[in-house]
Point group: C2
Chain length 312, copies 2
Amino acid sequence: MKAVTVRDGELFVSDHPDPEPGSGELLVRVLAAGLNGADMMQRRGLYPAPPGAPQEIPGLEFAGEVVALGPGARRFQEGDRVMAVVGGGGQAELVTVHERAAMPVPGGLGWPEAGGIPETFTTAHDALFTQAGLKPGEHLLVHGAAGGVGTAGIQLARATGARVTATVRNEQLRAGVADFGAEVIDPAGFEENGPFDVILELVGAPNLGANVRSLATLGRIVIIGISAGAKAELNLGALMGTRARIMGSTLRPRPLEEKAAAARALERSVLPLIESGSVRVPVHATYPLDQAAEAYDAFAAGGKLGKIVLIT
Amino acid sequence: MKAVTVRDGELFVSDHPDPEPGSGELLVRVLAAGLNGADMMQRRGLYPAPPGAPQEIPGLEFAGEVVALGPGARRFQEGDRVMAVVGGGGQAELVTVHERAAMPVPGGLGWPEAGGIPETFTTAHDALFTQAGLKPGEHLLVHGAAGGVGTAGIQLARATGARVTATVRNEQLRAGVADFGAEVIDPAGFEENGPFDVILELVGAPNLGANVRSLATLGRIVIIGISAGAKAELNLGALMGTRARIMGSTLRPRPLEEKAAAARALERSVLPLIESGSVRVPVHATYPLDQAAEAYDAFAAGGKLGKIVLIT
């Protein structure tokens, strides 16, 4: 099979042996695979694949058709449309995934949208609800909101009755982000729009000080992106004063049982919203698998609204 | 009544009008009132009393006898032995407290011990269980463990089946702290004794970096003391890598409903352990109310094992 390959900091498309589904696993013909910030880091050699995942083939999310079942697999049939988060290997013509980590693709949804759902919406849902416990009526701030996780987070928060403020650096993208239901502001001086009950941090260290200062009592900050830097000064006294929490989260290294639990949460709480059309999956652009390098370059360049997805 | 008084950075004992119990409140003749780190900060003008609390009379915990009931109070009778956390005013001959914030003093317990329980054990229990969710079999690290909250935290963690490591700077105190069930180590190089599932931070910023590095996956750090400093560099990438949480917590500014809920948790989970003798309240020294300044000086000097308590 063909697959995106990262080796020694180079990204290209090459042939690999077809994977074989093990016990309880599905073999899936991938039709769409979303790009994520983690892929950019892996390309730069900063985020190696976890043990057990394909080491050279990136790709944390995909959607496609089941083409074979491993021993004991029974949740899906050949031909079913599925999607999943994996530790790697999604950006390929074929991938294996444990059936407990797979989810059905909502009826009527196109492949590019489906390929951009699993990592993106699981990350947003897990961060906002499982980690931060966002509640109706709370005020959420999303930093760096124009991408896949940001637009997912805005919509999921709105669907649960929260108020959402979002920072977007690129002026051209602000109106598009506002369409998802957020009040969109310039990142500079965001503190004045608080206090915030929950902050979803997709940018990184430069926001930390003002994040902590702008929290409401019992506020929570969830760190899921640090592209602008990882290290910043933290004022523990301010954290005590508002009895605040700072949480770091990643999806990729989680073991099967946690990925499966997150998939169940998504099936229960998010997929019905997508199926009904009340939550959308914005796809900024699609690229064929052979043009993976161009797709990565476009992702790294920024300026996108929603997802970049490889079509295989 | 006589009361400890803090005015313009000076601490002395002076006369104040007797307080009167309002609706649902108890008037309590204080017999013992523990000192806490917050009192040291208030003496230095750094921690003003919250709105509604006596502004000039410190004291966050006390034990004593009910001498009068305000309108509608019905949980206790005159003569009952009670203890409570208050926003201030505990270091006085008389204090008022809402009956929902008061707890019964365990049978057979002496007054000095009772006066050192409420703030100390509520802080430790709330931090370890309500905030950090410490579970049986987890590994807890307590930084600065020789004081009241530290020794309470060690014992409560042991009683729930956790393993406890404790740092104590003063070599003379280490054997005494070990008697509560912790492996006691020098603070230097504590990282080598990890990984830790929960860290109870009573010292402050200098430990932050090594705390984050020594956490197990899904580890939690609860910051409840920052006497050694408030500001430190935080590595958000490390926080993401272990999916860790840093939480700040204080008891004093909490509203009545939260103080009452914490009192109920203590009645249910901690007071039975004290009544049975399986958890002890170490009292390092007692001072009469008139010698409050000496008591504060002794607290600030450090080198104590357990509580310093004023006897009124």
